[in-house]
């Protein structure tokens, strides 16, 4: 391996996902001669400019033309290169959707898609730049893998796994800093969910940075004597259905949490899975079929119901409802 050694991210410390993304992209470029970077004129925002500056020979500006960028990536992938297409989530999952379908996913070409600035927290740029449905859109597409990492360690690990996987992968990233929850020995695997906290009263299943807020919700619940079991699901597709069913069965009540619409995202994926494998009373915390707006992060999380307090409240609610349902069920017994 040549070039810079992989950066180590310290547990508890906060890092912006985009900085980690740019740094890891450079590490991949240095480690793997097949990796090239295509950018849709957002390199300074997404931090792919780290590659543009250090390795201009591996960076291809594609201009503000995402449909063409996806096609160019497909063409390069047929030659054995591994193109990483970088833009905001809202553009990469929407503007070139038909291109992703026809020349990336259908031929299962080895193209990586990095969607920065996903969800509501996009630095006050408002609804045009907030993608609240990218997971739903790309999860529904055959052959597409969808990963939403939680912290710096996982962003780096997920990118390495995505690069090692032969086929299209969408990596959903966020803009701002969040604390690091995984240690240096964390092993990421595509399609594997991880228990990040054990408990026996209620299960919280979350993805992306929302897992950090799920853990804070678990703290709030612990103060009331409620033990929350938190399952982090970085790979929304393929979903770790065994882990989801087991986590649901462990407590008999489920809350899902995501910075994404509750339609078609993680909550929907979990509901689909549990409906077939382990029907369980559940609540979905997420954006409720609406677009966002520009505002500071904390105000957005509050207004759209994504704070740890909202997750904890959903947990209390499903616990109450679960009791009633259980009571009704036992009354119905002969």
């Amino acid at each position: 391996m040549s070039g810079p050694a992989a950066v180590v991210y310290r547990t508890g410390e906060s890092y912006a996902q985009r900085d980690v993304f740019g740094q890891t992209l450079l590490e991949l470029v240095e480690e793997d001669p097949r990796v090239v970077v295509l950018d849709g004129d957002l390199a300074n925002s997404t931090r792919s400019e780290i590659v543009a500056k250090a390795r201009p020979d591996r960076f291809f500006m594609m201009g503000i033309a995402e449909q063409n960028m996806a096609g160019v990536a497909a063409g390069m992938a047929t030659l054995g290169l591994i193109p990483w297409c970088v833009s905001f989530a809202c553009f990469i999952a929407n503007r070139d959707l038909d291109q992703l379908r026809v020349v990336v996913a259908q031929p299962r070409l080895n193209v990586k898609l990095a969607g920065g600035y996903s969800g509501l927290l996009t630095g006050k740029s408002g609804k045009t730049h907030q993608d609240v449905s990218d997971i739903a859109t790309l999860r529904a597409m055959p052959n597409m893998i969808v990963i939403a990492p939680a912290d710096a360690v996982e962003v780096a690990a997920a990118m390495r796994a995505a690069n090692a996987h032969d086929g299209p992968v969408y990596v959903r990233l966020t803009r701002d800093a969040s604390p690091t929850i995984f240690g240096p020995d964390y092993r990421f695997e595509i399609g594997r969910a991880v228990i990040v906290r054990e408990g026996n009263d209620v299960t919280i299943i979350s993805t992306g940075v929302q897992t950090i807020r799920a853990l804070e919700a678990a703290d709030l619940l612990a103060a009331e004597g409620i033990g929350a079991h938190v399952l982090h699901v970085p790979t929304v597709k393929p979903l770790d259905t065994d882990a989801v069913a087991a986590a649901a069965q462990r407590t008999g009540r489920v809350v899902t949490a995501e910075d994404h619409t509750i339609i078609g995202g993680l909550g929907a994926a979990v509901a689909e899975t549990l409906g077939e494998l382990a029907p369980t009373p559940m609540r979905r915390v997420g954006i409720r079929d609406t677009f966002g707006e520009s505002a500071p992060n904390d105000e957005l999380l509050e207004k759209y119901g994504l704070t740890p307090r909202h997750v904890a409240e959903a947990a209390r609610e499903v616990l109450r409802a679960g009791d009633q349902e259980r009571g009704a069920a036992s009354r119905g017994r002969p």
Binding site: V36, F60, M62, G63, A65, Q67, N68, M69, A70, G71, V72, A73, A74, G75, M76, A77, T78, L79, L81, P83, D98, Q99, R101, V102, V103, Q106, P107, R108
Partner: protein
């Protein structure tokens, strides 16, 4: 290169192959009871020229890394491509009659995962030039000297993505990329003329293709897309362009070769009856006879 450089005998062989390609198109579409005719017939002469003279390819090694790449952006003309590939030896001729059938390698639109030798999957119009740009850019990055050819329809080029790709190709001075515009002036429905919708006439918006491609920084060549010698000459000239991408604007007739299909937009996609097939094949036989008579001595 001109027609005479290639030699009259070889040109006659190629014209003969083009007639055979048209026969196979008619018979395969007749058998499938579905598919396109006008567009495939429009680009047949060029596909024969490409697969038999122009492209650096080896049908026994469809994944040969040094091969020229070919992308059919107007993917609905797939049957013409499959027939040319079959004649060239990529697949058995008989397989053409599995076109559109379940489990066939010959999908309605080219599926690169199904048939080796297809360099890109297409069918959603406007998408073919971008992968061509990726192949040309990738070839330069990897130090490979193959050329990438992309055939675009005039309807196909109404998609904005074609012009995104055109912009990026010239920004990167991709002189290892050649586009071929199959300019037959018809599409599926298109725009009416002042006289309204008639069987033949349409008034396309892309009425200044030369100026458009030139404005995007491309070198423009023009030829008759049914004159195989002239087209091969244009391809050779395209290979010599330096410092920017080139486009061959090929003037064509939709439905070329079958009198009742020529310029008739209804034959864009329409199953062909037994009787129509018989008439069409008889016309091709007559063309073949004329070609044979033309042999000097």
């Amino acid at each position: 290169m001109t027609a005479t450089d290639l030699g009259e005998a070889r040109l006659r062989e190629l014209r003969q192959l083009a007639i055979e390609n048209r026969r196979l198109i008619l018979r395969a579409i007749h058998r499938a009871k579905a598919g396109h005719l006008g567009g495939p017939l429009s680009c047949t002469d060029m596909l024969i020229a490409l697969y038999f003279e122009v492209l650096r390819i080896d049908p026994t090694r469809p994944r040969w890394e040094e091969r020229d790449r070919f992308v059919l952006s107007k993917g609905h003309s797939s049957i013409a491509l499959y027939a040319a590939m079959a004649l060239r030896g990529y697949l058995p001729i008989d397989e053409l009659f599995t076109f559109d059938a379940i489990d066939s390698r010959l999908q309605g639109h080219p599926d690169m995962t199904a048939l080796p030798g297809l360099d890109m999957s297409t069918g959603s119009l406007g998408q073919g030039l971008s992968p061509g740009v990726g192949m040309a850019l990738g070839a330069r990055f990897l130090g490979k000297d193959f050329r990438t050819w992309v055939m675009v329809g005039d309807g196909d080029a109404q998609e904005g993505q074609i012009w995104e790709a055109a912009m990026v190709a010239s920004r990167y001075d991709l002189d290892n990329l050649t586009a071929i515009l199959d300019l037959n002036g018809l599409q599926q429905v298109g725009w009416p003329t002042e006289a309204g919708y008639t069987a033949r006439a349409r008034r396309p918006p892309l009425d200044q293709p030369r100026e458009r491609w030139e404005a995007f920084g491309w070198q423009v060549l023009e030829c008759d897309g049914h004159e195989i010698g002239a087209f091969i000459g244009a391809c050779e000239e395209a290979r010599r362009i330096r410092g920017r991408p080139g486009v061959i604007i090929a003037h064509t007739v939709k439905g070329k070769g079958i009198s009742f299909m020529e310029g008739e937009h209804v034959w864009h996609a329409k199953p062909i009856t037994d009787e129509e097939l018989a008439i069409g094949l008889a016309e091709l036989d007559a063309q073949e006879a004329t070609l044979a008579e033309a042999v000097p001595g």
